[in-house]
């Protein structure tokens, strides 16, 4: 039997790696992919905890990740469209070059 605590620890580590990727990397694609990784980690946490309930309550924990996957699809769609727009305006994928608000 798989230990739920181990699943939750893996989910926490994956979430923190995702946040680290989104914060530290400069290429804008890595920022997007870090957010995707963090979303995946929360899905894993939901499914792990759904095993600790019985009956139909355990199914609710498996339905929430379905919606979260759909929202992630919408987010990736709009996010990539914005990346294309930014790249056309600046000819760069470096997040350091998107600082026109600072100047």
């Amino acid at each position: 039997m798989i230990d739920i605590l181990t699943v939750q620890i893996i989910a926490a580590l994956l979430f923190c790696i995702g946040v680290a990727v989104a914060l530290v990397r400069r290429n804008i694609f890595f920022v997007l992919m870090g957010v995707e990784l963090a979303l995946n980690a929360t899905n894993l946490s939901f499914i792990g905890f759904s095993r600790t309930f019985s009956g139909s309550a355990s199914m609710v924990g498996q339905i929430v990740p379905l919606f979260s996957i759909a929202v992630a699809a919408a987010e990736a769609c709009v996010g990539l469209a914005m990346v294309i727009l930014i790249f056309r305006a600046r000819e760069s994928l470096d997040s350091e070059s998107f600082t026109s608000l600072k100047e």
Partner: protein
């Protein structure tokens, strides 16, 4: 026992691919390692008695979303990708945030003892759809959310098309 072995293999693969995403040089390699993470997470979902979600993960995440990401990376393949330094110079201070976050999460998890309930349902496609489309008063009401997700995806598709299309001159439009 064999489930335990599969679980450790999938968990190690997921963590290793996620760590490679942190240090990868080219976004394409990062995207491929992220696909590896998502596929091993799909395996873990199946082991946690959610096989339907595992299939949805492979179809939607590893299939559709990552296909879109890889496609856009290839379309926007800028030649000076390798010249740009990988890490933000001041960003290493920001690494404290996930470090403190993971320390807090691990401490909280260490104090709890979640146990597997024997009455948990195997999440097959049938069981998930019975729960999802239960329109009776006693149901969870998730079918309303399902309708709104359809609206959200349509709005996202329309906005992506409007944002990313090239602005053509009026006379060029046919």
């Amino acid at each position: 026992m064999i489930a335990q072995i599969y679980f450790s293999v999938f968990a190690t693969l997921a963590l290793a691919c996620a760590l490679y995403l942190l240090v990868a040089r080219h976004p394409l390699y990062g995207a491929l390692s992220l696909i590896g993470t998502m596929l091993s997470l799909a395996g873990i979902y199946s082991l946690l008695s959610a096989p339907f979600l595992g299939v949805v993960q492979v179809l939607t995440y590893a299939g559709a979303i990552m296909m879109l990401v890889v496609f856009v990376i290839m379309v926007l393949n800028s030649s000076h990708d390798h010249v740009v330094p990988r890490f933000d110079s001041r960003g290493f201070i920001l690494l404290l945030v996930p470090a403190v976050l993971s320390a807090c999460l691990l401490y909280v998890l260490h104090t709890t003892h979640p146990l597997v309930d024997a009455g948990a349902i195997q999440g097959s496609a049938e069981a998930v759809s019975i729960q999802l489309f239960n329109t009776s008063q006693q149901g969870s009401g998730a079918w309303i959310l399902f309708e709104f997700i359809g609206l959200l995806l349509l709005a996202a598709m329309v906005s992506a098309v409007v944002l990313a299309k090239k602005h053509l001159d009026k006379k060029d439009c046919v």
